[in-house]
Symmetry: C2
Subunit: 529 residues, 2 copies
């Protein structure tokens, strides 16, 4: 969940200075529309210490009209507040129509702190989150626009920030022993944060993870998200454009912004996680072949143990066209008894599938305990191709993250080991593979006009993949991004991941008897096993 935000994001000063006035102007206008519409908005901030929450809130206060904005930071409840139900103080302070409320330390802080400190167990934490989800649903149903920001710093970035502040005589007072204690609990905080986001990120009250090390980036990013949410939820301004441009002109019209039309800030997004994938070196053939055999043997053994223990394996393979999904799956299945696994290729849904919820076609293919199922493309189509091509509506793909997490959680709760692979190649590598396919007669069937069409939407897919990983990579069902420019390397990574995940889920193997004096000898094969 936080992998995508663990890498520092930056926006250079030139871009910031160009964008900031546009964003301010657009936010002020959106504030007016919020008033006209009689709606209110609530922004909740949580996250890692020193990730810039305070500065970001100050920035929003500086940018927007203060008459229609109020900022509140909650501390421990007062005696007056403790004497009433927990949500009383938050109800008291609800922003009225027309106003945007910024809240620090609101209803998430108590349960998260208690969870991190161990004062609340997992079930109690879930109950607290359920109450919060009910409250937010009730407020959202009434028209309140709710946005939640997790201001993030990776563990290293947080340490660097604390050290930088401590080393600066002007700022050393900002760092307390408590900050270091919180830094040491970084992992616990993230575990609680992940559960919180999974349980309470809904279509009506979504969480946004914002990396906080660079003030330029985090300010523009939060402002962008707020602007986008307000624009999506409020009707356009009352005076209609004098002449609506034809759809084909729309992009061009955007580019003409300087010619007098009103300039709109460009959306600032985090640098895609895919941009930083290290492709590594091509493994030599001899190394590859040795490793392949070793890993296939290891997987075969592990799968037998898993079958005996009733532990199922489900693996979803996603990736760019020509990234080598099929080849990777074949190297895996070569290790297994053909009676023991199934490969489910996901193409266009059948009539029967079309007539039901989109998850139905995946549920139907789940095998019994101890089985192995590989999905060649998967339920993630909803937030990839269906999002990018517009086959799913905005509301449909946005709520799909929660639906997918719900689905996967049931698999994990049932003891299934779930692996998710994104086979990644660079854009150049894809071009080479496409051309090679077109030139090689026996590979031509592999390349279709659709591949070229998808390639043209590379940037859109990159955004969709980034969001998918951010929202669905969980401790129980993490994504593995497989560097795929070198096919051999990709196949070894896939095999090794499957082995490691299966092994971690199984009870330890019976120790193999080993002669006391022959530490280097291979263990004797036991014909009874």
């Amino acid at each position: 969940m936080f992998e995508t935000a663990d890498r520092p994001q930056t926006v250079d000063d030139a871009l910031y200075e160009a964008q900031e006035p546009l964003l301010r102007h657009a936010l002020l206008e959106a504030q007016q529309r919020l008033r006209q519409a009689g709606r209110a908005a609530l922004l909740l901030f949580a996250g890692v210490e020193k990730a810039g929450t305070g500065d970001t809130v100050n920035l929003l206060n500086a940018w927007m009209d203060p008459r229609w904005l109020d900022t509140l930071a909650y501390g421990p409840p007062t005696a007056d507040e403790r004497a009433r139900p927990r949500f009383w103080r938050y109800w008291r302070d609800l922003p009225p129509h027309g106003r945007i409320g910024l809240r620090l330390g609101a209803w998430y802080t108590g349960p998260v702190s208690a969870r991190v400190a161990g004062r609340l167990d997992a079930a109690g934490f879930d109950r607290a989150l359920e109450q919060i989800a009910d409250l937010e649903a009730l407020l959202a149903d009434d028209g309140l626009i709710i946005l939640k920001f997790w201001m993030h710093l990776g563990r290293e970035a947080q340490r660097a920030r604390l050290e930088a502040l401590s080393g600066d005589p002007l700022h050393a007072w900002r760092v307390t022993e408590l900050d270091w204690a919180q830094w040491r609990a970084h992992g616990d905080l993230l575990a609680a944060g992940e559960r919180m986001i999974l349980r309470t990120s809904t279509g009506d009250a979504p969480w946004h993870i914002v990396e906080g090390s660079d003030p330029n980036y985090r300010g523009l990013r939060v402002g962008n998200i707020l602007l986008e949410a307000l624009e999506a939820r409020l009707s356009p301004p009352t005076d209609p454009p004098s002449q609506a441009p034809a759809p084909e002109d729309a992009v061009e019209a955007d580019d003409r912004a300087d010619d007098g039309a009103e300039a709109h800030p460009i959306p600032i997004r985090p640098r895609s996680i895919l941009r930083d994938v290290e492709m590594g070196d091509k493994p030599p053939r001899s190394h590859y072949e040795r490793e392949l055999v070793r890993l296939q043997g290891r997987l075969n053994l592990l799968q037998r143990r898993a079958h005996a223990a009733g532990v199922s394996l489900v693996a979803a393979f996603e990736g760019w066209d020509a990234a080598g999904k099929g080849g990777a799956i074949r190297r895996v299945t070569a290790a297994l008894d053909a009676r023991r696994y199934r490969v489910i290729p996901i193409a266009a849904p059948t009539d029967e599938e079309q007539a039901r919820h989109y998850l139905w076609r995946f549920w139907r293919h789940l095998g019994p305990a101890g089985s192995v199922t590989f999905f060649d493309r998967s339920w993630y189509g909803r937030v990839l191709v269906e999002r990018v091509e517009g086959f799913a509506t905005d509301a449909e793909w946005r709520r799909a993250y929660a639906e997918i997490n719900h689905f996967e959680r049931q698999l994990c709760d049932n003891g299934t080991v779930l692996c998710k692979f994104w086979l990644h190649i660079t854009r150049d590598e894809q071009a080479e593979r496409f051309e090679a396919r077109q030139k090689t007669p026996y590979k031509q069937w592999k390349i279709t006009p659709e591949d070229w069409r998808n390639r043209a939407r590379w940037d859109d897919y990159e955004v969709a993949v980034h969001d998918m990983i951010e929202r669905t990579s969980t401790a129980g069902a993490p994504w593995t991004i497989v560097p795929g420019n070198h096919k051999r390397r990709a196949r070894l990574v896939v095999l090794e991941t499957l082995c490691d995940r299966l092994e971690a889920a199984l009870p330890p193997a019976e120790p193999t008897p080993r002669p006391a004096d022959g530490a280097d000898e291979p263990p004797a094969a036991d014909p009874e096993v």
Copy 2:
């Protein structure tokens, strides 16, 4: 929650025979519209044994087109099903577009049985319900029409039914020792059922409680609910009516049904719980005055103890116009120290209140621990006057039951004693009081044209009150229906209820020291206390 369904409901044969063909016809037509719309529906049945679930499902099968209907009864999971996640078999059997699925023993049965048998604790039950609520939300978001029926028999009605069956040689085989064991667990089943309905009755997947002792009633009632849900969720048939009647003619047009226009079945509703309120005799003045003083003294003492213990009391007074809410509240407050309580009259919302969620105005008036707050009219306005007068939309008042239960649960979780009174008078009694007010100069201010207007909608209010009590009377926050034709009686009932509820919530009083040999003497007052 089940008070409203504990009394047997009946429909006589003549009405049944007149309605049944109309309902069948309308259901068949609705089935066609479901197909045309490419939608599906899912009906889940749960409830008390012998409440006619099986017969009702058979009836629906007989009434509707079997090609677009499928019925499934789930037993304990097979080995195949146990080897997969719990919801797998329900996913497998999801009805495709165009079809209505009837399900017995589906996803609620496991958790409810485990809870009743004590194999699942309250927290585990809540988690199971949460997973179900997530599943239903995901299916409803996809367009599935979900209806849930709790087929009910009161404890006595269930016993009568079991005895009748046992006594009949032809049917005695139907009654097993298990049935009697389940009858003995009736209270546990209802406790689990209440929690289940509170947690999972949502706007998109509501529960309907249907009293099941009379086959005529339960058949028509279930058919009516299904028809109403289908009609509300599907667009009207494709061929428009040749001439739409003007709104004023609408009622008349209904009455003209026999003249060739298509007859629509009349909605069959349970007999309102208000129809069976026993008004009792008028207490003699001497008895009343003695009791009033005794109860006021008792309440005063209890409230001091509650204040010391930090236990708050919140009471909501609702009732017909002229039912005597004000007088009852004054008899209560007369018992209390004026610094210790507040009476909040709820009239039209202020500008400030209008600009926020409708529950905000009630949250803001909650006192600190140990306080007493009386609401003269309350948050129930949402499902009473706002529903009947159309001030709230259909969606708004329907989801308000869940919102109110959410609100009240937080009060109860916080240790607050919450009492809810419906002051009930008969229609004739109201007429007499209105006339008396008009004739008495110093009472004329009490009667307004609005009172007469409300009176004209008596039947609509009766339905709204019945639904309100069914959906919001819970173990933690039960409704008290106060028989109000005799004001003295009403006031004593209110006082006694407040005393009993407060007393039950307080730790036992310190035993008053009492001389061993003077059992009849009043205890000596202790000046130190």
